[in-house]
Symmetry: C2
Subunit: 711 residues, 2 copies
């Protein structure tokens, strides 16, 4: 674009100064200065590999082995066959056994097991999920909910896949609300058996991996009824098919058929009519029935018992968090590599087209998402260490279990949504090529889609987080003098109500209205980023808490909760992101503060934090947490950070450590660069030959110019 408005400078100088700010004069310098800096790719790679590098690397070797790859050309039945065979092969290679007891040949290494499991995503997400059902749900339920005898009888078959198993929890009528499932297991003391029944259509078990075709057994969740009392949901081991694959008497089911993704997994429905199983098939760690029908449990409260039982299965959520990190890394490795090679439009008119990643919009699409996946990866590793501490027994306390569950409920939704977003943005950034199965992005996204729903619907999980945050908030005030509590609250949340008060309290914000507002130093301080991100959670929770309290007094608690549900979920989501930001910040300490790696990763962390703040900028403005001048700086500093990071985009994706065998995206193999080189050589040769045709456009322009000069 050229000077189409030619007005006097004097009048507009003042305005222009502001606009220049947006234009970001320092971009070029920043880009230049950062050309000379480099991240230490190996060091960053090691940091990303996390706390179980050997297990993760071993699983990456498996994911890079063609025997485990998805073959896009297969029919539904062939894809299922292949995946079943792969699950068995995986068991032979030993990775899944990491989770199981040593006496069965396992590794008793819960963290390493999950780290390895996550990497299977890039072989084929169907393989990941089918093996997750077999080992992580069916096998893990036997291990965590069963006792010694159960382990002896059923773990070997689960571990070597001689017994493919389903995890029969969800029903058509009840997914998120597991405690309301309809399947019953009624104890018959006469025969010392449980009688399993599906009383109505909505109580059919549904969406069960392995159940559509392969499973010969299942861990079944049902309402345990004995002596006229319903003791709530318990797990039972039940055989469902014979060796020929026919349903056993009383068992029925249907195949779920084609799904939006994960079509290598045979999901299906099951129902039961008076199926009798021995009393000892109750997985009785948390609740048992004696021969005479007397119920006993180490946990008296039926509510707590239910949550403890489900809590043993938290590893599913842990592993989805990590899988969504893998998905994002792969997507960005593909899109950034291609964006660094693909050229389109000759903007300079010098015969060289512009590399996609040199376009402002392209950078803005991909580089903030690079920052996100670094935050997600580092927070996942902390999460995984916490999971390992609890599940290895080293740090297994009720409080840590509760915290782990909150962490899982906050992070799994956050990263799976990040994964869906990044895969789609990467797909669009690769244009038509992005749509081809050969370039992986679309099919990975199809498969990842349901990760936002299974192992706990994202929205429902975030609401659990919200309730926990509200409880913590309430606990803070418990027992405090009412007037004192109110005072505390006023200083904490009043910023939104009366932002003059807020501004007075938050001195440093209020004082920035002068020229110093143009400095980005304040935004770069991690304390300030943290204060802003934390305020977004705390103030919202405080305000929601107060509103609920008031509404409850007025007898409108339920309506109020519903009216505030959406805000509560958003605040919980912001909490998940805050955890990611904190983990990224802690991780920076592992790098030498003088190193270029530290400098560049700090930019990346800043970009992550500021991108979150920018998304909720109106909240910060309305609450008085940011002035309008500082809010504008957030946006312009984000632009500057993106420019600074642009030269490092390739190194930052190289540090993920994925090879062509993992990515398997043709456009990310250098093929685009080769084609461009070939085309350039052709035109070069043509020019040199003297046989190149004239370009009518050039001739036309010259003619017009000549006519103009003549006229």
């Amino acid at each position: 674009m050229t000077r189409f408005i030619d007005w006097s400078t004097s009048v507009t100088d003042q305005l222009a100064e502001i606009v220049e700010d947006q234009l970001d004069d320092s971009d070029l310098e920043a880009a230049e200065s950062s050309e000379s800096t480099r991240i230490d790719v190996d060091e960053v790679h090691r940091a990303l590999l996390g706390s179980w590098p050997a297990e993760r690397q071993r699983a990456r070797d498996i994911a890079a082995d063609p025997a485990f790859w998805r073959d896009d050309s297969l029919s539904l039945a062939e894809h299922r066959d292949r995946v079943l065979a792969q699950v068995k092969l995986l068991a032979e290679r030993g990775t899944p056994s990491l989770a199981f007891p040593k006496r069965f040949g396992g590794g008793e290494n819960p963290g390493g097991n999950i780290a390895a499991f996550e990497e299977i995503f890039l072989a084929d997400p169907s393989l990941q999920i089918k093996s997750g059902v077999q080992f992580g749900l069916f096998g893990a339920a036997i291990m965590h909910l069963g006792t010694e005898e159960h382990h002896e009888r059923w773990l070997p078959g689960a571990m070597d896949v001689s017994v493919p198993g389903a995890f029969a929890m969800t029903e058509i009528g009840h997914g998120s609300d597991v405690s309301s499932i309809g399947t019953t297991a009624t104890y018959d003391p006469e025969t010392e058996e449980f009688v399993i029944n599906t009383p109505f259509r909505a109580a059919w078990k549904e969406y069960l991996g392995n159940a559509g075709r392969d499973a010969t057994a299942a861990v079944l969740f049902a309402q345990l009824i004995t002596k006229g009392m319903n003791h709530g949901v318990h797990a039972f081991y039940i055989e469902i098919r014979d060796a020929e694959g026919n349903f056993l008497p009383g068992v029925g089911g249907e195949d779920d058929g084609v799904k939006g993704g994960l079509n290598g997994v045979d999901n299906g429905r099951l129902h039961f009519s008076d199926v009798r199983i021995p009393r000892t098939n109750l997985l009785n760690r948390y609740g048992d029935v004696a021969a005479d029908g007397a119920y006993s449990s180490p946990i008296e409260s039926p509510g707590r018992r239910f949550f403890v039982m489900l809590g043993t299965l938290v590893q599913g959520r842990v592993s989805l968090d990590g899988s969504a990190v893998v998905a994002q890394q792969a997507a960005l490795a593909i899109a950034v590599t291609y964006g660094n090679q693909r050229r389109q439009f000759d903007n300079s008119g010098k015969g060289e087209e512009t590399v996609l990643l040199d376009y402002g919009r392209h950078q803005q699409r991909l580089i903030p998402r690079l920052a996100t996946v670094y935050a997600a990866a580092f927070s996942h590793d902390e999460f995984l260490r916490e999971f390992d501490a609890v599940f290895s027994g080293a740090g297994d306390t009720p409080d840590r279990r509760a915290d782990l569950e909150t962490l899982a409920a906050a992070l799994k939704p956050t990263t799976t949504w990040q994964g869906m977003d990044t895969l789609q943005v990467a797909r669009e950034a690769c244009g038509g090529a992005g749509f081809m199965a050969d370039n992986r992005l679309t099919l990975l996204r199809h498969d990842l889609d349901v990760y936002t729903t299974f192992e706990g619907d994202n929205t429902v999980l975030l609401q659990l987080v919200g309730k926990r945050l509200l409880e913590d908030y309430a606990a803070k005030f418990k027992g405090a003098d009412a007037r004192e509590a109110a005072r505390l609250f006023v200083t904490q949340a009043a910023t939104k109500a009366f932002h003059e008060i807020g501004l007075a309290r938050l001195g440093s914000i209020a004082r920035d209205l002068g020229s110093s507002a143009r400095s980005v130093g304040w935004l770069r301080e991690p304390e300030n980023q943290h204060a802003l991100l934390a305020a977004r959670v705390q103030d919202e929770i405080a305000e929601i808490g107060m509103a609920l309290n008031r509404a409850a007094k007025a007898g409108r608690g339920e309506a109020a909760f519903n009216a505030l549900q959406s805000r509560l979920i958003d605040a919980s989501h912001a909490y998940g992101e805050l955890i990611q930001w904190e983990a990224f910040t802690r991780k920076l300490e592992d790098f030498s503060p003088e190193s270029e790696t530290h400098r560049i990763l700090t930019w990346l962390r800043d970009l992550f934090g500021l991108t979150l703040i920018e998304r909720d900028l109106s909240w910060y403005l309305i609450s008085g947490r940011l002035t309008t001048k500082r809010a504008r700086l957030v946006t312009s500093y984000i632009s500057r950070l993106i420019s600074r990071l642009r030269p490092h985009a390739q190194s930052l994706v190289d540090a993920f450590g994925y090879t062509d065998a993992h990515l398997r995206a043709k456009i990310a193999t250098g093929i685009e660069q080769e084609r461009q080189t070939e085309a350039a050589a052709y035109y070069e040769e043509l020019r040199a030959s003297g046989n190149a045709p004239l370009d009518e456009r050039v001739v036309y322009r010259q003619k017009r110019k000549a006519a103009k000069q003549a006229g």
Copy 2:
């Protein structure tokens, strides 16, 4: 939640008042009052059907005919076979011929043709796109770029599908930048032939529908070279396969194989080595070559000529806009119907679970998107009328053509992104059921994905819009006294720079700081919504224009454009949404202002406008266009509108007029309601029988209570 903070009311009264505002006391009243009102479903349905109701309804009948449905169980090859047969059947039914000349049995009804075409989406998007390639690209290129003789020779074969054809424009190396394609058509006066060549790998034609397998001919785009001059991209008719499906000599190609969606379409690549075609195969409406090789064209400027040629193909973008409306309507019809039947969690403790659409978050996910699709549908109909006016010849002026192209470039990206978003949100709102192919949402989304890329990448199109807006802006100041221009600009854009000035100018905004700020009346005024939405576009364009002007003076125009690219694209996107808002507002005039339909649709329009404003709320705050108090009102009034509209959600989707045969989503057929009724009846009967087991949770709570009272 119950009163967990019990502080003295006196201290917190003031705060509570603000919070109550958020809680929105008026919700219940609003919901009650609107229970008694109803939209006239038939009247709204007619409004949505738009200007070609008969053609649209006829195509809906086709989409409801099982012969045209997708069969999810088919393999890739079978799916392609089925779709090819369906395209032929479609030609027999006559719908596609609407676009073609009457002397070939066509309807010369461009608007009706597109309306009908859009509805084919719900039969199978693959069928839509394969027929779009055959009739809307291959056939339309012959019609628009060829002349009489070409029509005689080739239109009948295109129309009856005896010649399946490809549209060979895009190359591996050049998609968005068509003018840089590498394929050459060099005229040989000796033989009076064009010699077609693919000089390098990047010049292979790519992603061409029909080219993977079925096409026997193609309209080929190549650089026309004659007498040593390259006259730019022109279209040629070329045969590529013989009757047995083998490539003709010199022609080669590859099948694109599996894609992220649209797998019933056989996309593929083509390349040419010294393939000779007669001189008369040049589609010569806008450029011709005489037997001696002399080039002639009715359009002197090669640049304009290129754009005129491409402009004849704008109907593709028009039809994608409308198809994305159909996609959204289907998604919302499915998700709202299911959300009105599906229940989960007994929140009241009274034994009845809550309907999903009664949850605040669920409403917030679906109801604003209902507002969006109404805006999209009404703006699409205006767009289609404008297209018809230009292409029927009734209003074919260069200015209207140019405006039509800008409209297409603004609306196609806006609606296709809305479609992607709505399909995903609907899918997640339906949980695991949403992931099943049986419920349509995922597979429709897979197919819609590439609608954001083909017929012009959304990002590239929005940049075209941005350039046009900048040109208009520049034109406004052209010839104006520089000082005057600057003054104009200051009053227009200064709001952001110095918002005190802005506030002074925008008196009504500045004056609202008192108690009247609590009134939503101001936000309800369409003039104010329009002023806000327009300001978002105008101010941004003005500021970007000024920055570019200044940067150009400093010799940094290109860098500046790149730095501002992302903002320009966002402003263009906001322009597309503004057009939708305006069309919705105009459409309201068709309804009697006293009618309940008018009242409810006005809420819906308000919700659309305010949702857009809320998304960019930080921009409005920073620019001084909204005060923080009014900004908060935007959010709370949105909540109120959602509550008011909730009782009408089902009527609003019923008005789309799609039947089970169109939606083909099991969960939207009433099956969920049946299952719930069955389950409820089972429990009712169990209770009545006296055989219901006791619930341990109830017993436990009673025990605890008793113990507490005793202690």
